[in-house]
Subunit: 199 residues, 2 copies
């Protein structure tokens, strides 16, 4: 099959798009337990970037599962494929010149590393959204921990399935110690420091 | 499973992004035989949009198959899933405020209609890239028709697998009658006429 297909170099390149947008493109990959605040944080960062006229967009588990990954379940194999597809979509967005914010539990080190390998070194920013399990379980915004404890949801990360912490994440955000705004500003400052965005 | 997930409304909406970009977002869905000029045309339109500072990006069969749809083959079932995933990715790009140009043979009416249904009426623009089979086969830019005739490639659209022509496409572009530039301008004029882009 691979013999029948060739990679078409677009006339317009990633670099052309970055030049037009006046910022670099990259993926912010938010990983952490359910309830740690990944999606909320990604959306606040997205809003701050948007206010600075930066092309950015949020992918999160919930909206991806209704669409692209509809039909995939929560088994380890399906989770792997779930993360793989999201990584590939993030790559397309980065190629299109955007800063893409991906917020997924993504509990397995190997799966996250596979995604990292799709990108250049400075394009993949792993954001470990760190929050103690007890705190996440206390928050339980969707009542999922309760269902996991009762056995209604099998293989739930942190309860009946492991969460493998990032080894060398670019950023660690402790959401039980920072306000959402402080956390978002820390990420914005990182992007500025790396000269991915201006200011 | 559906009970455990909810759609997170982004703080920043599609409409916010369109306002920032100063143009609407939509998908141009290029369908036609292999060799009809879909990818070439999509890339030329993309370059013209880029020159007007419009956020646009090309998805095509070749680059998608190396990434997101790696592992899918050319059977009818895999082609269906191929098109479904591309439709969902296009939807994310439209939500992100871009004009996304998708260039795929997409030979089956039903599959294209499934994609159309993902979008609002004015967001999905089906572009039938029309060119007689004999002409496409004469061009045979990747030597695929030759392989299809010899039986080396099974189920090849137009040779051993049907191409179902669009019934009511928004645009028909006859690439054996127009130059690439004329064809691209026809599409740009359509986008302006629909007020999807300015000018």
């Amino acid at each position: 099959m691979a013999n029948n297909i060739t990679w078409h170099q677009s006339t317009i390149t990633k670099s052309d798009r970055q030049k037009l947008n006046n910022h670099q493109s990259a993926v912010l990959w938010f990983t952490g337990l359910s309830g740690s605040g990944k999606s909320t944080l990604a959306n606040v960062v997205d809003a701050k970037l948007h206010a600075q006229h930066i092309q950015s967009y949020v992918l999160d588990g919930d909206n991806i599962r209704h669409g692209l990954n509809k039909g995939l379940g929560f088994s380890e194999a399906d989770r792997k494929e779930n993360i793989r597809r999201i990584g590939e979509v993030a790559k397309l967005f980065v190629d299109s010149g955007q800063i893409i914010l991906a917020a997924f539990i993504s509990p397995f080190y190997e799966d996250r590393e596979s995604v990292r390998k799709l990108f250049q070194a400075d394009e993949f920013i792993e954001v470990f959204v760190k929050c103690p399990l007890e705190e996440c379980e206390k928050r339980d915004p969707k009542g999922l921990y309760k269902k996991a404890r009762s056995g209604e949801i099998p293989e739930f990360t942190g309860v009946s399935s492991p969460y493998e912490e990032p080894v060398n994440p670019e950023l660690v955000i402790e959401t039980n110690q920072l306000s959402i705004d402080e956390a978002a500003e820390k990420i914005i400052a990182f992007l500025k420091g790396k000269k991915l965005i201006g200011g």
